[in-house]
């Protein structure tokens, strides 16, 4: 694989990661926390209605997790395609 194709493959994979992670980002906040909140509020876990929990707690936890997953994936991808930064 020449360098140009290699970089295209790298970028494509990056875009795939972004699509997956940003879909989850959208679903937990705008989906669970806003559009489906009333529906999810019928479900109760401990003292929380689920829609309310996603809107005021859950979505924020998921945001944090998403960034750390992204960092892990990208660091691996950088190594795999040999574009990582040397110390």
């Amino acid at each position: 694989m020449d360098n140009k194709n290699k970089m295209q493959a790298y970028w494509k994979k990056n875009l795939r990661y972004l699509t997956i992670l940003l879909s989850i980002w959208f679903i937990v906040s705008y989906g669970f926390g806003i559009l489906l909140a009333d529906y999810l509020n019928q479900i109760k876990i401990a003292g929380f209605k689920l829609g309310f929990w996603f809107a005021q707690q859950g979505s924020i936890y998921v945001f944090v997790i998403l960034i750390f997953v992204y960092v892990r994936w990208m660091n691996k991808l950088d190594k795999e395609f040999d574009v990582d930064e040397k110390e």
Partner: protein
């Protein structure tokens, strides 16, 4: 020890700490002044970003705001955290690889145009200035309320301190001071929150206590919903606003966050692309600690407030009620003369703020002259009380109250300093070095940066002292404009190789003009809510402005010539982490 003295001591210690840190880490070159030499560790940068991000409003007002908005408060919680995901995934690593000092740098170089640079400089200045004025006002209020000095003197002390370390230390001084300020502010926020959670639901973790049971065995949130519906409010855990508005406002805040220059510039200060990614993660962790605690504090305080005052006679209410009444933040107008506080849905007053006469009422309360006869609600509560009075309501010792003061000041000062730096960089680097006098020497540029930081802090102090009464409306402006202008221009600059200057400039201008006109129309030119497009309030219109920006940019770029080969090469290059080097001015 007397509370006043204790407050002075704790605030004094924290200020000495900030100034000490500023002297230890002062800047010697433009690179240190603009981006802290590009050598900040990701963890420290995350902490500094969090302190920069969380303003006096986050610290003092947000929990109160949520307390009164219930479910709808989620727009702030999600809106002011979700943008960091966009920053980490779509902006930070690429802008770090690009390796310049400022956002206008990126816009100007990527779109090979000084017109684009100028549009970006104007946006950056406007956005940062609207923001910093609110911070200076916050500093003044915090000083005035707790140290018992006039508001103006409070602003002057704040100006003096920010001047000292922003002008001397530049980004390097600010970054390390902000690390210290984050520690102070998060400690000050968590201590009362943990105590209150333990008192109310017997759980030391507020995020869990939020879903816990009260002493009488009912869940806190169920109890709160019931209290709310009994008093004629909407249930606390159910959305009140139209869904579309909640959606658009949340989106505008998220996209605005990812487009704010003082946030973006943070990711230029770390050594590597990898560090920029992880540093956004750390920033969000540190922000999330406060942002997941705030809604818990809001629910605790709301329940506490209703339980303590509703249908109680004035003689029975605890001392804190009377203390806060004396600061004008609480008011009770005994409309039916039964000596009891009736708290329910509706406006207790005819104006926003209470107007007190010098007389005392039958129960000994301060008499209010602007009670609203159309409503049976008798109680006015300023939202800021929720955080400020929490320690008293929970009967915590004096040092906790003093700590909250120090925390509020830390939040206001750290944000003000970060913004001032963006303003001074925009003037000295983007305006002087890049547009007006390119031959300026390194030393001359550094002096220009210091002088413009000095002027900016004085002007901000002046506006902080004489705040235009539309400060709150201006914040909607800052986020809306950042979302409608910078966000699309940067994203397209990275993800679309063919995006050219014609597309980007028309897109930014259309996004800006549309968003600004909508906000001006509804905030200043007398537009009424029933005229909202699709029910979208001015706070959320930046989202639509952003969509227009994207569409126009893409359409215009299709019909105009592609960017030069060298620019396309740059885009290819920023997509790959290797070879980032340190941020540079060439």
């Amino acid at each position: 020890m007397d509370l006043q003295l204790l407050t002075f001591i704790i605030v004094g210690i924290t200020f000495t700490l900030y100034i000490g840190v500023a002297i230890w880490s002062r800047a010697g070159s433009t690179k240190e002044f603009y981006v802290a030499g590009g050598g900040v560790s990701p963890l420290a940068n995350g902490m500094a970003t969090a302190a920069d991000w969380m303003s006096a409003a986050s610290f003092i007002s947000m929990a109160g705001l949520i307390s009164f908005m219930g479910f709808d408060g989620a727009q702030y919680l999600m809106g002011w955290t979700g943008g960091y995901v966009l920053l980490a995934l779509l902006l930070a690593p690429y802008l770090r690889k690009f390796g310049k000092f400022t956002v206008p740098d990126f816009i100007g170089d990527r779109y090979y145009s000084n017109t684009a640079r100028l549009v970006a400089v104007i946006c950056a200045l406007f956005v940062s200035f609207t923001y910093v004025v609110g911070q200076m006002k916050g500093v003044g209020i915090a000083f005035a309320r707790f140290l018992d000095i006039p508001f103006e003197q409070g602003v002057i002390i704040g100006v003096g301190i920010v001047f000292f370390y922003a002008v001397l230390g530049g980004m390097k001084g600010i970054t390390y001071t902000q690390v210290a300020q984050y520690c102070v502010l998060i400690f000050a926020y968590m201590v009362p929150a943990i105590f209150i959670s333990m008192i109310m639901v017997d759980n030391p973790i507020p995020q869990l206590g939020f879903g816990g049971k009260l002493q009488d065995g009912t869940y806190l949130l169920d109890k709160l919903d019931k209290l709310h519906t009994d008093l004629g409010f909407k249930a606390y855990t159910v959305a009140n606003k139209p869904t579309i508005d909640l959606f658009f406002v949340t989106a505008a805040l998220m996209l605005g966050t990812a487009g704010l220059p003082h946030v973006i510039v943070r990711f230029f200060t770390v050594p590597k692309v990898r560090d920029a990614r992880i540093s956004a993660g750390w920033a969000l962790v540190f922000i999330a600690i406060l942002y997941t605690t705030a809604p818990a504090v809001a629910a605790f305080a709301r329940t506490n407030l209703i339980n303590t005052v509703s249908n109680r006679s004035y003689q029975e209410v605890p001392q804190w009620f009377k203390n806060w009444e004396n600061t004008d933040l609480l008011a009770w107008s005994d409309k039916n003369n039964d000596g009891k506080i009736q708290y329910q849905s509706g406006n207790a007053l005819t104006d926003i703020k209470p107007v007190f006469s010098d007389q005392k009422g039958n129960s000994g309360q301060r008499m209010v002259t602007n009670g609203n006869p159309e409503s049976d609600n008798e109680l006015y509560v300023d939202r800021d009380i929720i955080v400020l009075a929490n320690p008293e309501i929970a009967q915590l010792p004096g040092w906790v109250i003093a700590l909250v003061v120090a925390g509020g000041l830390a939040a206001a000062l750290s944000t003000a300093a970060g913004l001032l730096l963006v303003i001074s960089t925009s003037v000295s680097h983007d305006l002087f070095k890049k547009l007006i006098m390119p031959q300026i020497s390194e030393k001359g540029e550094l002096n220009a940066a210091r002088i413009s930081a000095g002027i900016a802090v004085v002007v901000a102090g002046y506006f902080g002292m004489n705040p235009p009464d539309y400060v709150a409306a201006l914040v909607a402006f800052a986020f809306g404009l950042a979302a409608a202008s910078f966000f699309p221009a940067i994203i397209l600059g990275i993800f679309s190789k063919k995006m050219n200057k014609e597309g980007a400039i028309t897109g930014m201008i259309v996004g800006l003009v549309f968003t600004a006109t909508y906000i001006l129309y509804f905030k200043f030119w007398g537009g009424t809510p029933d005229q909202y497009w699709f029910g979208i309030s001015p706070e959320g219109i930046g989202t639509l402005g952003m969509i227009f920006n994207f569409i126009i940019s893409l359409v215009v770029s299709k019909f105009t010539s592609a960017p030069p080969e060298s620019v396309q090469q740059v885009v290819e290059n920023i997509r790959i982490p290797r070879g980032a080097g340190k941020a540079s001015s060439h």
